[in-house]
Amino acid sequence: MENLQYILPEIFISASIMLFLLVGVFKKNSASLIYNLSNISLVILLALIINLSSLDKVYLFNNSYLIDNLSNYMKIILVGSGIFVMLTGSKYIQVINLNKIEYPILILSSILGMMIMISSNDLIVFYMGLELQSLALYVLASFNRDNLLSTESGLKYFVLSALSSGLLLYGCSLTYGFSESTNFNQILINSTEFNYGTTFGIVFILVGLAFKISAVPFHMWAPDVYQGSPTSVTLFFAILPKIAALSVFIKFLYTPFANMNDQWQTIIVFISIASMIFGAVAAIGQKNLKRLIAYSSISHIGYALAGLATVSNQGIQSSITYISIYLVMNLAFFSCLFMLRRNEKYYENIEDLSGLSKKHPILSFSLLIVLFSLAGIPPLAGFFAKFYIFLAVIEQSMYFLAIVGLLATVVAAFYYLRIIKIIYFDPEKEEYERSHNLGLKITLAISTLFILAYFIYPSGITEIVSKITMI
């Protein structure tokens, strides 16, 4: 029982979910109340996690649960971005009539699932966390149930995700069968010798995880789900599951399968290159901003995976840095998207940005910064994210990966430039509304300033992340 203090954050968030559910059922019209309470509970959750962050490595419950630097850092950025996601979306869900009690509760439960995923040290615990977050996400994707696209995206996500969960489970069972344990550390010990069973297990698990992280060739769901879901849910999709899946990726590759890196390294390099190229090329023809950001997220995940492919601590740290900077850029981008509101209607096509810079100089300047940063142009934060990745990749003499990756950034730069062109060079359209809720404005200001001023003190994140060592 003395272990319970270490999982206080998880206990707290589970208790809050149940409490909010009760309040929601018994108190009428309590949607806004629960939304705000959920946000507050996320802040408390963040404080609880930070409180534990001094722990170096604690195994709980027969080694099936692990709290270490990796899980702490990932949980902090997970919950931190969760808070901002809730802040930015609050007005949006009111405007499009989605302000129901289930919405924040689903978000909280999927965050709980992700936290379990991040900390899991056992195949069964991991799968439990994964399914908890996935089930919540299926519902969230189709939350706008009167909208055809939203329903379609929920269904699509459910079918494909269930398929990938099936593959994942199959991989887990193969791994269990051949290494005689579900515990990550035990699998590591038992899998020192090469055998086909474990190798197949790795492949299936990686395929399943690649689905969750939307890496090519398992990316098909991403554009439709991104476009169809309500924008606030898309923002959630774009950030939180990525953080969780990436840390699970790191965990799988570097704990149970650490001895087999010559088996999985080629797979990761392939997935990474395919994602970088495909994401860059496919985004060029897009007209919808959410769809475009889906393709862009595919290519960004390619870069994050390139760091993992290096089999070095430097590489893992660069991936984590990448995802941290990437989430800030996404927050900033979606905050701008939430500001494109006119007469209680949100606009999400690229053409709607036409000539935005004349009437909305600050908004367009933020977009300019975000887009150049996404394209990886110095001196913005996005450049440093890529810089760390390539630093790690070239350290391992993987020049091919580095050169392909950098050439893909040039292709990707084209479609980011196209948006900038539409904002700055094209004739203006009608004005958008200027009153926005405070949370949205604060998020936009903080994230833009972060991107813009990152170069002044680039060591900040690097120093925190450098504590995370897996090898």
Partner: protein, 498 residues
């Protein structure tokens, strides 16, 4: 720690840009922001002149070095200057106020944003010439793309979108390979500090590939044939001030990079690839001069002449002789002044008559005598008449080339003749001849601010043309040092092979 004079030089324009951001924009005239910009850029110019004054011209070391921890201990923010960089810094700080004065004429909408873009651009350009760390250099080198993209795209001509994209993507494509090379250098040698790299040297087996990666970036930026095609487009579509910045300073970044990095870091590879550079330079000189002859758009003609002039620069650098490199640096400074002046001159008539086609003009001398005089000085400067800066640069480059390879030098000399041909023909068609077009009659001669900017350019072109000593004096020791290091490495390499 002394006063960080270089960092203030870099940051001052950005601070000015922030000021302008917060000046009131509702007044249609933007007077206040214009004065703020002018004041800041003049202050920066004076600061750089002061820097030149206190700069020790007889020292081979980098001076005013600032070294701060930046990227968690492994990459430092390091800036410093030697005799070569100081001239480019002064060129930058000199051209910027001229640009700001001449925005009056050319930019009608969103002037405030334009001034901010120019000042930010100045920050990046000075940063490029100061940085003594490869990563810092790359940062400034690439960051300059953002304001320039916006300058071409927002305030440009009809095909501005195409040109802006072409400019951006071409340059980015060239530069990403340089980034790979920089990171590779970090892992090979353990540092990206230029001074340390000069001491350590880079192993011979890596040099060729690394040189090519740097070359891909600099060749696009120079621009060298066959990757020069973005330049005419960018020049034609950019607003006058944008063309001035592009021609006068941005192109010089690559020439500077060749001297500082290609020669300094990879001497053996530079020696291996000398012939490649010669051939590309000669093609640039001859071919683009011929292309320039055929242009009917004034800006395009000057753009092609820029490519030809930069061909001389790369040729001079890779002669690896004292004269050749000094000539190249001189040519770059001279081209910075002359091409800026030519683009401004084209801007003068374009603003009055709204066309850049040469055959729409003719006989301007009778209605715009003052304009005819300054335009003549710039034309003569561009074709390298003795007494202008253009002559000294080309003369020194050809001297260096004759020392190394007579055939190359002879072909390059043909370029001088072609240069005279297209420039004089341009001058003849625009300024002399009969005035066929009656609409031209209403054109007025130079306004006062145009007299200020153009004569500010006439003075250094003639002064340094007759008395090049101050410039040569400032670069002499640094060039000598670069060459000494270069030859030392070569001799060592040959010795180690034997």
């Amino acid at each position: 720690m002394n006063f960080p004079i270089l960092s203030s030089l870099i940051l001052l324009p950005t601070i000015g840009a922030l000021f302008i951001l917060f000046t009131k924009s509702s007044s249609g005239k933007y007077q206040s922001s214009k004065y703020v910009a002018l004041f800041i850029s003049l202050a920066n110019f004076l600061l750089s002149l002061y820097l030149w004054y206190v700069f020790d011209k007889n020292s081979i070391d980098f001076q005013f070095v600032e070294n701060r921890e930046w990227l968690s201990g492994f990459i430092n923010y390091k800036v410093g200057i030697d005799g070569i960089s100081i001239l480019f810094i002064i060129l930058t700080t000199f051209i910027t106020p001229i640009c700001i004065i001449s925005v009056n004429a050319t930019i009608t909408n969103r002037l405030k944003d334009f001034l901010i873009a120019i000042l930010i651009m100045e920050t990046f350009m000075i940063g490029v010439f100061c940085s003594l760390d490869l990563v810092v250099f790359y940062l400034f080198f690439e960051a300059g793309l953002i304001p320039m993209f916006l300058i071409i795209g927002i305030w440009g001509g009809e095909r501005r979108v195409y040109s802006a994209f072409k400019f951006f993507l071409y340059t980015l494509l060239g530069s990403v390979l340089m980034l790979v090379a920089i990171i590779a250098i970090y892992w090979i040698t353990g540092t990206t500090d230029v001074e340390k790299l000069y001491e350590l040297g880079i192993q011979v087996e890596y040099q060729n590939l690394l040189w090519l990666a740097f070359f891909s970036s600099f060749a696009v930026k120079t621009p060298m044939w066959p990757v020069h095609t973005w330049l005419p487009d960018a020049h034609v579509e950019a607003p006058t001030v944008g063309s001035v910045l592009l021609a006068a300073i941005l192109l010089k970044m690559a020439g500077y990079g060749f001297i500082r990095f290609s020669l300094g870091l990879f001497p053996i590879a530079s020696e291996n690839f000398t012939m490649l550079v010669y051939i590309l330079s000669l093609i640039a000189i001859i071919y683009t001069s011929l292309v320039a002859l055929m242009q009917d758009d004034m800006k395009k003609l000057i753009a092609y002449s820029s490519v030809a002039h930069m061909g001389f620069v790369t040729l001079g650098i890779f002669t690896m002789t004292q004269q050749g490199i000094e000539g190249s640096i001189f040519q770059m400074i001279s081209h910075g002044l002359v091409s800026a002046a030519l683009f401004l001159s084209v801007g003068v008539v374009y603003e009055r008559h709204h066309t850049r086609l040469i055959n729409k003009y003719g006989g301007l001398v009778s209605i715009m005598p003052r304009y005819a005089i300054v335009f003549m000085v710039f034309t003569l400067g561009a074709l390298g008449l003795p007494g202008t800066t253009g002559f000294i640069g080309e003369f020194l480059i050809l001297m260096g080339a004759f020392e190394k390879n007579i055939l190359v030098a002879m072909i390059a000399s043909l370029g001088v003749i072609l240069g005279a041909a297209y420039m004089l023909w341009l001058f003849k068609r625009v300024v002399f001849g009969e005035m066929k077009n009656q609409e031209l009659k209403s054109m007025k001669d130079l306004k006062s601010f145009e007299i200020i900017t153009l004569s500010a350019l006439v003075v250094p072109i003639l002064f340094f043309g007759f008395y090049p000593e101050p410039l040569i004096n400032s670069i002499e020791v640094s060039v000598e040092n670069t060459l000494n290091m270069y030859n030392f490495d070569l001799v060592n390499n040959i010795a180690s092979r034997d």
